[in-house]
């Protein structure tokens, strides 16, 4: 549900989203050294693959967004990574729109990047439990903020939709819980196996 199709949003919203997305991309690329190119690309590929994992939920299933985890691991470089993921999803699966790329990018990347910037300093290998809980909370909040952004953009474009957005928002709540748990377990795993991937300031986790 995070991919908004072409034709739903009004032109001012599209323009604002595209500008914001381009700004995020510019910030992300500024911090992208030659060495970071293969890393960012490989992590983008992992997130692209992981976001096609379906978690069973009663009779249906939900797909992971992983905005919080991407933000924690990549900082501002999450913008180029998620942009690449969106392009691939559009090409290989036909998901999402062409003119809504900027809006979708902001919806998916910004909450994770902003929340992770707050949470990152408290994540360290010395205290894995606290780190995992914080990472989980970051992931859950990122999903909720993403949902709020999607809803807000649709409501601003087509006010008649506003009452229906409550129903849509409710669909995001189980996803927030699932993302929190998966992100917490990924964090525990990485802290045990390769802590520098998620904590060390020299790693990709630095903010540009």
């Amino acid at each position: 549900m995070a991919h908004i199709p072409d034709g739903v949003l009004s032109l001012p919203i599209l323009a604002a989203g595209t500008l914001a997305g381009a700004g995020g991309l510019a910030l992300g690329i500024r911090g992208l050294a030659d060495r970071d190119i293969p890393r960012t690309a490989l992590l983008a590929a992992v997130f692209f693959i992981a976001s096609s994992l379906a978690f069973p939920l009663g009779p249906t299933s939900v797909h992971l967004l992983l905005g919080g985890l991407v933000g924690l691991m990549l900082g501002w470089k999450a913008f180029p990574a998620i942009f690449v993921g969106l392009l691939l999803q559009a090409l290989l699966f036909g998901f999402g729109g062409l003119t809504t790329l900027g809006v979708d990018l902001v919806n998916m990347a910004l909450p994770g990047v902003a929340l992770a910037a707050l949470a990152r300093r408290f994540i360290d290998a010395g205290n894995p439990l606290r780190s995992a809980v914080l990472a989980g909370a970051t992931a859950a909040l990122a999903v909720i903020v993403t949902a709020a952004l999607v809803g807000g953009e649709i409501a601003l474009s087509e006010p008649a939709f506003t009452p229906a957005l409550g129903i849509m928002a409710a669909a995001y709540l189980p996803l927030a819980v699932i993302e929190a748990a998966v992100t917490a377990f990924v964090t525990l795993y990485l802290l045990k196996v390769k802590p520098e991937m998620i904590v060390a300031p020299a790693s990709l986790g630095t903010v540009a």
Partner: protein, 251 residues
């Protein structure tokens, strides 16, 4: 295969005579125009144009249908509520359900607009191979680093998919079935974690190999595509269509 490195391997359609850059620009211009149209006949003409492009690009009907279903699915929840909730003069009232005329009208406009946009974008853009799109984006002036990240990711998605498949096989051999429980969540966490670790270790090896060969931050973007007469024709036709549509819509 998603990553066919050789463009010649992909089937060639009549739309492929256009430069990839013009395909992208035309697609964006058409979709932005559709987003501002309100007249039903014009939106219907947009759907017709989309179908024409679909035929020209040789997109299989099945792929088109799947794409449309996905796009309309997005709106399903919104549509169910839309005619019911617009606080405008009611059309028919069945018990507590009140369908309003303006609500239904807006719903129809949106369905037409979204269908037309999807039908235009699918043949013009979604039919491109990732490599071709990456090169076109680079030649359109996107930052070279961004294009490199995209082209690298295209390459490594296939490799990492193979890794993911091996991990998945190993989990299934040990009796893993995805359920709605904590064990599934933990297993997914470890699965993604291990995939990330392998990816970063691979990235370190790639980085070393690239630096051994003197990578200096850029790769050449090679293409045989030229902006030619066909592209000028397509651009002129697009501008004409958009102008006519905008004028008729305002009348």
């Amino acid at each position: 295969m998603a990553t066919d490195a050789v463009d010649a391997a992909a089937p060639i359609s009549r739309l492929d005579r256009l430069d990839t850059r013009s395909r992208l620009v035309v697609a964006v211009a058409l979709v932005l125009t559709l987003a501002s149209l309100r007249s039903w006949p014009l939106l219907g003409a947009g759907i017709g144009l989309g179908l024409l492009l679909t035929v020209l690009a040789g997109v299989p009907a099945r792929q088109t249908l799947r794409r449309l279903l996905h796009v309309e699915g997005f709106l399903l929840i919104l549509f169910v509520a839309l005619p019911l909730t617009t606080r405008l003069p009611p059309f028919v009232a069945v018990g507590p359900l009140v369908l309003s005329v303006p609500g239904i009208e807006r719903a129809v406009t949106l369905v037409l607009r979204i269908t037309a946009a999807a039908l235009v974008v699918l043949p013009l853009v979604s039919g491109l191979t990732p490599i071709r799109l990456g090169h076109a984006l680079g030649r359109l002036g996107l930052p070279p680093r961004l294009v490199q990240v995209f082209l690298f990711a295209v390459r490594y998605v296939e490799l990492l998919r193979a890794e993911a498949r091996r991990l998945n096989d190993a989990m299934r051999l040990r009796g893993f079935v995805a359920r709605t429980d904590l064990h599934t969540l933990r297993s997914y966490g470890h699965f993604i974690g291990q995939l990330l670790v392998r990816a970063v270790e691979r990235a370190e090896r790639i980085d070393e190999a690239m630096r051994c060969r003197g990578f200096a931050g850029r790769f050449p973007l090679i293409t045989l595509e030229r902006f030619g007469a066909v592209d000028i024709g397509a651009a002129g036709l697009t501008v004409l269509l958009i102008a006519i549509a905008l004028v008729l819509d305002r009348l």
